[in-house]
Amino acid sequence: MFAYHLNMALRSLVRTPGLSILMVLAIGLGIGVCMTMLSVYALMAGDPIPHKSDRLYAVQLDSWDPNQPFLEPNEPPYQLTWRDALELAERSPAGVPRAAMIGMAMIAEVPDASNARPEIVTGHATTSDLFGMFDVPFQFGGAWDRLTDKEAGQVVVLSRELNDQLFGGEDSVGRNIKVGDIYLRVIGVMDDWQPTPRFYDVNVGAFDRLDEAFVPLSLFDRHRDEWGLNGNVSCWDPPTEAGLFASECVLTQFWVELPDAAAVRDYHAFLDAYVKQQKELGRFQRPLNNRLSNVNEWLDINEVVEDDNTVLLGLSFMFLAVCLLNTVGLLLAKFLGRAGDIGVRRALGASRVAVFQQHLTEVGVLGAIGGLVGLALAWAGLAGVHALYDDYERVAHLNLELVAIAIGLAVFAGIAAGLYPAWRICRIAPATYLKTQ
């Protein structure tokens, strides 16, 4: 029966080409606009590391000004001081993977290469656990280990893009890059790794360029005066002679992996004990206010989704509503225009239900075609978004899931639009239309 309905539906669409095109366009336009905004929004608001996002926690300590909170009403700063990050990295309980990191920029060149120019390389200095914690994939080689962390080994992990740029994409493990006076040995090249948003450091934009290189935190410690910071530094108490890294300025990020609620409780206890001990040294003059936030909570706290995107998403759904109202009108016009045909079919024995199903099928087909048109328009729309918004490089693309949503939304919208016209048409009394006018 469905095949018959499908057949009739297709014939009917072809018989009124103008009207069908208008309806497909109306649905397609609505779906196209919606899917463009929805894609951007979903990727901005999405979970960057779904298989692990509930086990990775960002640590916040309230080392801020006793006279006022970092952020009203009583929020601790987003980052830690240098010394707190190092202490926590050193003293966290043995079974807890922990990553202390800081955004950095260095000037690197490939030694002895004929056409090499020094490049600014931005990335993070980190402890080695990061790679296991975030499941970073590697194309060549791998990460360094905790021993290298201790020894401040002169190693570097490159991103795939940077490796393409510096070494033409070859296996560069074992080769060196020159940073200032020292040589860093390439120990690993990452594969495509695009956590969207870049949850572990959202201080300078969560959708910006990805890290090009990772170096050991201890190595950065030795060269921090020559290399530069690439992130946010906030101070409530100005640094003393001892400098930024000995001060109460916050500039590092700290993440831990805690598998269950018991582990979270234990780590909270550890943090509390640490802060209490620091209080005795005269630091941490604010009341105890430590936080552990998993990835999605962290992204919420940092308000990673721009208001503009939410507004556009809302407006695009209203646009879809207008398109659907338009489609309902067109469908009514079309169906009522064919009332004579339906009258004959009903008189020949077609039940109301069959007529209703027939028209719903037609509308469903319309929705599906509209969905395809909508996808094409969404693709164009996302190209537009990419052109307009510089830092949305990674956010403006469709994935399989969104394509499925687009088609599903289109068919659903089409059927929703078609319900009323289909109902109207199957209610007509056949006799009225069988008479000659």
């Binding site: 208008l22 109306a26 336009l29 606009v33 000004d65 006279n67 006022q68 000037i107 020094p118 600014i120 200032g180 005066d225 020559e226 530069g228 100005p238 640094p239 002679e241 400098g243 930024l244 001060s247 721009e306 208001d307 503009d308 939410t310 507004v311 556009l312 407006l315 695009s316 209203m318 646009f319 509503a321 207008v322 398109c323 109202l325 338009n326 309902v328 009108g329 067109l330 009514l332 016009a333 537009g384 978004v385 307009l388 918004y389 510089d390 009323y420 109207r424 000659t436 006018q437």
Partner: protein, 405 residues
Amino acid sequence: MDIRPILSALARSRTGAVLVALQIAITLAVVCNAAFIVQQRLAKMDRPSGYDDGNVVTVQVIPLEQAANDRSAIAADLRALRAISGVEAASVTQQEPLSNSGINWGISKTGAPNDPDSINLSAYLFDEQGLDALGMKLIAGRWFRPEEVQILDDLDDLVRVHVPSLVVTQAVADILFPEGDALGQTVYDFPDNGMQIIGIVERAQGYFVSRPNIENSMFRPAVIQNTRQAYVIRSKPGDLDAVLHEVEPALLAVNPRRLVRHVRTLAEVREESYGNDRAMAITLLAVMGLLIAVTVLGVFGLMAFNVSRRRKQIGTRRALGAQRSDIVRYFLVESWLITTAGAVAGAVLAVALSVWLVNTFELPKLDWHYIPAGIVVLWVVAQLAAYGPARRASAIEPAIATRSV
């Protein structure tokens, strides 16, 4: 003209009219609010910066060896830049204004840690040519003298080394000293660190273009050596292109062992920083345009459908003596009625949407003038859409009345 026949005809075939009225309502609500947001963004991007944007060139210099960029190296760079023909003035700083990156500082009248009247502002470090290099307008006091400019080893030095003078913007002066006597007053960033306001500039926007405190800026006479720099060069009118091309070669001639990048005018820096606002405005305009187009199609479709359904009625009226213009007027009035009904509902919806936007996103409240303006636009556009079918209706011959099919 008697409206009753039109109304009763509409009442009998309500659905199409209701659908179009709903479309118009939603379109009006969206278009009014979207147009308002667009206007807000355009106004934001249009604010004067206080600098001579079109003639100021900025460039970033990153030394390959940090220690290579000491005070004599910086002095050599400035000599080279000032020697370029067409250059009015050149100065050195840490980060260009309006670039969405930079240093925030806090100052107050007392410097006490919990002073509720402390204000947050952008902190700029410049030398004695900073005023002319940026093209700012000094309205009180004076700018820095060469001997006042201190050389610092890093940013924290600003706290430890006493730099006793500063220049602030009018906005800062008004907040701290509303009586207008800011010149000569002492302000503090930390309890023992007093600085005297020696000059006031009319306007100088800060680093971050989307922050509410963008008009609050201060200038200190200082240069940080042994780190990356940004140079600010003002060209004489007409010499901008020449200067733009000369900057990189001039700097590399002084010392090729560094990265010289982002040679651009302050106007270009601004444009980049406002990128998201411009994108939002363009996207909203596109959505508004599409929305009006879809609604116009809806009106057109409904009127065409109505005309085709009432051929006999129209023919009969013509046969009974109605003129062509009467038929056209009939359909234009019908379309006008539907549009008005939609507009009334739309005005209510626009206000509701505005309230929701204000509460959820802290956007400013919709300026009510947008609603009547939107209604007028929709009226005009709907009438234009209805005109085509109305004209075709008037072409229906009276003879139709006599046919039986």
